[in-house]
């Protein structure tokens, strides 16, 4: 059990490339902490620095109050689960799980007890004498987990542990990992590129981009109060719609509608906000105009020509285009999010709206939609920083 403190932790390579720039946050004791970001953002490098596989170029890391910058990985008492599982192919499941205990010269009856207990917990008991080759992907994954658990380490580190599993198993293992972490109460640092995993598993999440930590917050905080355009675009599925806008006092001009922002938004505007902005509108902020229950709610109604309808039973997504896009401002962001310029052409922007399933919107037909002004996000068009301060 330990608290992990990172103070201006930086990793730079001989060629001058900085993989991690001044990471500065604290992972609380017993917390399930997620590092998330697109590939190449430095999240795995940061994890490797925490476990000691990579040197820390500058800054300081403390585990349980002790400086560990120069502590060898074998002496950090952390356990790691790799994306490739990294279970030893020449050993049986039992030998794999015993390996870290044998290196600690643990008495064999204690060793047996711990391995049996972990195998029981992970439903591996009947596979203990088998070689990893004969196991399925999910079972190998559990062996890797088992090897981590038996050590009773001060922290679990997981590097995309689920990305080699098929979709169904992934959801299942996600729950298993969440339960296990709750039961053991061990500090866990979990790296993933999948924002769904990040949102569902994490107590707190650090979003990284190009080696820089963008925001450290609870999943709810990230979703409702993204610190900048990157976090806004990265968190949420389908992604937040990012549209060009013009802020004129309390009035926001959007390509399809003008909104009078309610005081709960305008009160939070940072000083000097105005002019060209990027408006972030989550799909669920839209509604079928005929189905809006609260007619007094601040918002705006507009007509959109629906291109595509995706009906999923419990929800319905309507895709439409609006004139005018923020493609230039978003080009940089789109590259990082690996999306095709976020579905926009030079003068058109793709918008996704999540509507009530009772909606009668039809493909190819015009439909009246309503947008809620209370949950609109505003970002500076140049810097991408949020223009709304976070309420306390």
């Amino acid at each position: 059990m330990a608290e992990i403190v990172l103070e201006k932790v930086t990793k730079s390579y001989a060629d001058g490339f900085e993989a991690v720039k001044a990471a500065d946050f604290t992972i609380d004791d017993g917390e399930f902490f997620i590092l998330v970001g697109p590939s190449g953002c430095g999240k795995s490098t940061l994890l490797n620095m925490i476990v000691g596989l990579e040197d820390i170029t500058s800054g300081e890391m403390r585990v349980g109050g002790e400086r560990v910058n120069d502590v060898d990985p074998k002496d950090r008492n952390m356990a790691m689960v790799f994306q490739s599982y990294a279970i030893y192919p020449h050993m049986t499941v039992r030998q794999n799980m015993e390996f870290p205990l044998k290196l600690r010269k643990m008495p064999s009856d204690e060793m047996k007890r711990r391995v049996d207990e972990a195998a029981e917990m992970l439903e591996l008991s009947e596979h203990l004498d088998r070689k990893p080759v004969h196991l399925s992907g999910g079972q190998r994954q559990r062996v890797a987990m088992g090897r981590a658990i038996v050590r009773e380490p001060s922290a679990f580190l997981m590097d995309e542990p689920l990305s080699n599993l098929d979709a169904k198993l992934r959801v299942q293992m996600r729950t298993t990992i969440a339960r296990l972490q709750q039961r053991l109460g061990t500090t866990t640092v979990y790296v993933t590129h999948d924002q769904v995993e990040a949102m569902t598993l994490g107590d707190r999440v650090a979003v990284m981009r190009r080696g820089v930590v963008q925001q450290v917050d609870t999943p709810r905080g990230l979703y409702t109060h993204p610190a900048n355009l990157f976090v806004a675009g990265f968190i949420g599925s389908p992604a937040m719609n990012l549209l060009p806008g013009e802020l004129d006092g309390g009035r926001l001009h959007l390509p399809m509608v003008d909104l009078d922002l309610p005081s709960e938004i305008t009160d939070r505007l940072v000083d000097g906000a105005g002019g060209k902005v990027i408006a972030g509108i989550r799909p669920e902020t839209f509604e079928d105009a005929s189905l809006v229950s609260d007619s007094d709610a601040p918002g705006g109604t507009f007509t959109a020509k629906i291109d595509v309808i995706e009906w999923l039973g419990s929800e319905l997504f309507a895709h439409f285009e609006v004139a005018g896009s923020a493609r230039e401002e978003l080009a940089d962001l789109a590259a990082d999010l690996e999306s095709e310029t976020m579905g926009s052409t030079a003068d058109q922007a793709q918008v996704v709206a999540r509507l009530d399933v009772r909606s009668e919107a039809r493909e190819g037909a015009d439909h009246e939609l309503w947008v809620d002004a209370r949950t609109v996000q505003l970002f500076d068009a140049a810097s991408g920083d949020a223009l709304l301060s976070r309420p306390d």
């Binding site: 074998k74 990294a86 020449h90 390996f99 070689k131 080759v133």
Partner: protein
């Protein structure tokens, strides 16, 4: 099992079978010829015919003519075995460490080491025989076991390093890291995790080194002068006939057959290890 895109028709099968038969015959006829020669009495050697009319073991164990009663053959066999085994052991151990370091560590001059190793492997041995002869004589290595073991290692280490580094590259880095995090020192991680997985590579290198040392004639004949260190390939050239007018063809053939046997045994033993290592699907997680 047919590869994708090939038909499994009878004509195809016949074609490949014929091909295999030709290759096998081509490779085995000289061996069969030597075996046949070794079983012929001296009078019959000059006559053709693959099957000896009157097969005899005289060339192997005959009182006067058998190679095993020759003055030098038994000691040459002992020298051959000892020198080849020691050279193999040393070369594989050293190459394992070197290859592991080259694959896993980032140090300046890494490519230089690999390129240098390759250059040595390409260097014609005959070019260094002269200087080596002089050097060995002045430092007392001439006609000794180390005098042969050292050049054998020099010429086989590059090959072993290249083979082994290819094997080490196949072993996922993550296993290394996992072992380190599990509490192993770098050497423990190597010994308990990496080395067992690279075993097929070590056996492959061992075979190659052993065959080189065992078959070498050039160094063996130039750097030895007596039974102290002379190996079989060199010793064979010193065989004498039963009279000064007979050429010892039968004995040479018999000696050749005898020295081939350890190689076959060696390959068979190691081949099983190599195949079992590869097919257990060990490396891929």
């Amino acid at each position: 099992m047919s590869a994708p895109g090939t038909t499994n028709s009878g004509r195809d099968k016949a074609f490949w079978t014929a091909g295999i038969v030709i290759v096998v015959l081509y490779a085995l006829i000289p061996v069969a010829w030597i075996v046949s020669l070794s079983l012929k009495p001296p009078e019959e050697v000059a006559q053709g015919g693959l099957l000896p009319k009157d097969p005899t073991l005289d060339n192997y164990i005959g009182d006067e003519t058998g190679v095993f009663y020759d003055d030098q053959f038994p000691s040459a066999l002992f020298n051959s075995l000892g020198i080849a085994l020691i050279a193999t052991l040393l070369a594989v151990v050293l190459a394992t460490f070197a290859a592991y370091a080259i694959v896993r560590l980032d140090f300046p001059g890494k490519t230089l080491v690999l390129a240098g190793a390759l250059a040595i492997a390409m260097f014609p041995p005959v070019a260094i025989i002269g200087p080596l002869f002089d050097m060995w004589r002045s430092i007392g290595l001439f006609d000794t076991w180390p005098g042969l073991i050292i050049p054998y290692m020099t010429f086989t280490l590059p090959l072993a390093i290249w083979t082994l580094s290819a094997f080490f590259r196949e072993i996922p880095w993550d296993l290394d890291k996992a072992a380190r995090i599990d509490g192993a020192t770098p050497f423990q991680a190597f010994r308990k995790v990496i080395a067992p997985l690279a075993a097929p590579g070590m056996f492959t290198s061992a075979i190659l080194v052993f065959i080189f040392a065992w078959n070498d004639f050039l160094f063996a004949t130039s750097l030895t002068s007596t039974n102290r260190a002379r190996t079989v390939p060199a010793a064979i050239t010193f065989f004498t006939g039963s009279s000064q007018f007979t050429f010892p063809t039968g004995q040479i053939a018999a000696a050749s057959v005898v020295v081939t046997i350890p190689i076959i045994v060696m390959v068979l033993i190691f081949q099983r290890r190599i195949v079992s290592g590869l097919t257990s699907g060990a490396v891929k997680g």
